[in-house]
Amino acid sequence: MTLVSFSFICFLLIVLLLYYLLPSKWQWVILLFGSTAFYMLAGTPITFIYVIISILSVYLGTHFMEKKPNSKKKIYVFTLLINILMLVALKYTNFILTNITAVGSRFSDNIHEGDWSVKWIASLGISFYALQMIGYLTDCYWGITAPQKNIGKLALYNIYFPQMVSGPINKYSNLSSSLFAEHKFDANNLREGGFRILQGFFKKLVVSEQLTGIVDYLYANYAEYNGIYVWIGTALYLLQLYSDFSGCMDIVLGASKCFGIDLAENFKAPFASTSVQEFWQRFHMSLGAWLKDYIMYPLMRSSAFSKMTKKLKNKYGKKAAKMIPTFAAMFVVWFCMGLWHGGGWNFIGEGIWFWLMIVLGQLLEKPLKSLGKNLHINGESKFMHSLKCVGTSFLIGIGILFFKAVSLRAAFTMIGSAFNLSRLIASVGTVGESLSLLDSSIGTNRIVWAAISVAIGLAVMILFGLKDKAEERFHVYISKKNFWIRLLVGYLLIMSIIFLGAYGPGYSASEFIYGGF
C-alpha cells in the first residue's frame, strides 16, 4: 500500500472512523494499532523486528539514563551506537562492500568490484524514524525532554503511520502533546485535511507521475541524450522532485490533520529563494532542522572545535578563526545530508556541491554587494530578485543532477556535455526527431498528454505556491470559503486528478521518491 492509492484512502477512513467513534482516551492506542497495521500492509512484516529493537533500545536507554545519572553518558553513547549501527548496516552495507571490493580489485586479481553484496531488507521508513529516535534520545540526554514512561506512546511517536514512510522528521517535544492528546471531532480539521490530501494527489499524479517516464528515460540514456537534453531533463526533474515530495507531504500532513494532529511543515515556497542557503531553509526543512540541532551545533560546540578556533585565532586572526571552523562543520553536515539520501558517491557529490555553493555564497556576498553598488545596480529591485531566484534554481538543478544521475561519473559526463557549446548546438538540432523517438519509447502520444497535464499542473502549483508563501496555505484558504466554492474547487481537483493524472500499473502510483530513503 502506497500513500497515493485508493487502498490508503480506505485505510485512512477506517482508522478515522474508529478514532472518532471509540472513547477518546483510546485514540492514541487506535493510532498505534493503525500504524502497526499500516507497516504490515506497506512494508515487509519481518523487518518490523528492527523497529522493535530501535524502540526497545531507546526506551531502556532513556530509562537507565534517568535511573543511573553517573553512567548517563555511557548509556547514551551505547544506545546511540545501537541505532546508528542498525541504520548503517541496513542502508549502507552494500555501499561499503562495493568500495572495499573496488579498492581490493586494484591489489588482487581475485577480487572484482561488486563481488560482495548482501540482500538485507531495510525496515520501512528507517531513514526517517532512526533520525527521530536519535533526536529523542539526545533530547533526553541533554535534558530537553523527560523520558516517555509509556513504551506504547514512544512506539507511536516512532511509527505514526502518516509520517513514517517519508517524514517530516518531528521533534518529540513538538509532537508529543498533540499526538497523545484526546481530540474532539472537528469538521474543519477534516475539511483542511481533505483539501490538503487532494492537493497532494494532484501534485503527485498530474505533475510528478506524468514526468517520471521522460525524466527516467533521459537520465538513463544520458550518453545518447546529451547537451540540451541535460538541461531539459534537469529542469523537468527539479519540477518532478518538488511536486513529488511536496505532494507527498501534503498527503501526510493532510491525513494527520484529519486526526487533529499538526506535523512539522517541510516546504515553504522554496523556489522563491534568492540563495542556495535560503533554498535549504525552505526545502525539506525538517531534515535541515535535525542536522542543525544534532550535528551542526554539537560539532561547533565540541572541545575539538573550540581548540581549532583558538589555534586559528592565534595564527590567522579573528575572521579566519570564525570562518574555517564554521565551514568545516558545514562540510560534515552536507556530507551527512548527501549520504542520508543514499549509499552512493553521487549522493555525496550532491551534498558537497551544495556545501560549496553555500560557502561561496557567503564568501562572495559582500564583494558582490559592493560590486553592484559600484555599477549602480539596485540589488533589491524586482528584476534582480527574480534573477537571483532563477540563478538559485539553476544551482539547485546542478545539485540534484548528481542526485538523479546513475553514478558520479555519469553526473560529471552530463554536466560536461551541458556546458560544451558544440554538443549543445548539435543536440538542439535533433530535438524534434528525438521527441518522436522518445514518445514511441515511453508510449504513444504520452509526451503530448504529459505536456498538457504538466502545463495545467504547473499553473495550479504556482497558485498553491503563492498561497504557501503568503503564510495561509491553499487548503486553509479554501476551507474557509463558502460551501459552493469548496464544492467547485474539490470537484475540479478530483476531475483533474482523474483525467489528467498518470497512473502506473494496477492504478497505484509508483512510490514517492523520498519513500525510497
Binding site: 542557503q277 540541532d293 551542526m296 551545533y297
Partner: protein, 80 residues
C-alpha cells in the same frame, strides 16, 4: 544585574553580530523576526553572550532557546 540591563547588553551584542545598529530587540524577539538569524549567527550570538557574561551555555539551551526572553532567563540564572 537587572533584566533591563541584561537586555540592553544583549541588544548591543545583536548589533555587533548582525552588523546592524538599528535592531531593537525585546524579550519576545525570536529567529523568525530577524532575517539573518540562522544557525550560523545563532552560534555567533551564543559565543558573544558567553564571552560578555563569562559562562558556557549547555547544549539544552543552545538547541532549546526559543527567544531573547529565554536567553535572558539563562543569563540571569548563570549570574545569580
Amino acid at each position: 544585574m537587572s533584566r533591563e540591563v541584561i537586555l540592553a547588553k544583549v541588544n548591543e551584542i545583536f548589533w555587533d553580530v548582525f552588523d546592524d545598529e538599528s535592531l531593537e530587540i525585546t524579550e519576545a524577539t525570536n529567529a523568525d523576526d530577524i532575517e539573518d538569524w540562522d544557525s550560523l549567527t545563532h552560534i555567533s550570538l551564543i559565543e558573544a553572550v558567553e564571552s560578555e557574561f563569562d559562562f558556557k551555555f549547555a547544549m539544552k539551551d543552545v538547541v532549546g532557546m526559543k527567544n531573547v526572553g529565554e536567553m535572558i532567563d539563562i543569563i540571569e540564572r548563570e549570574m545569580a
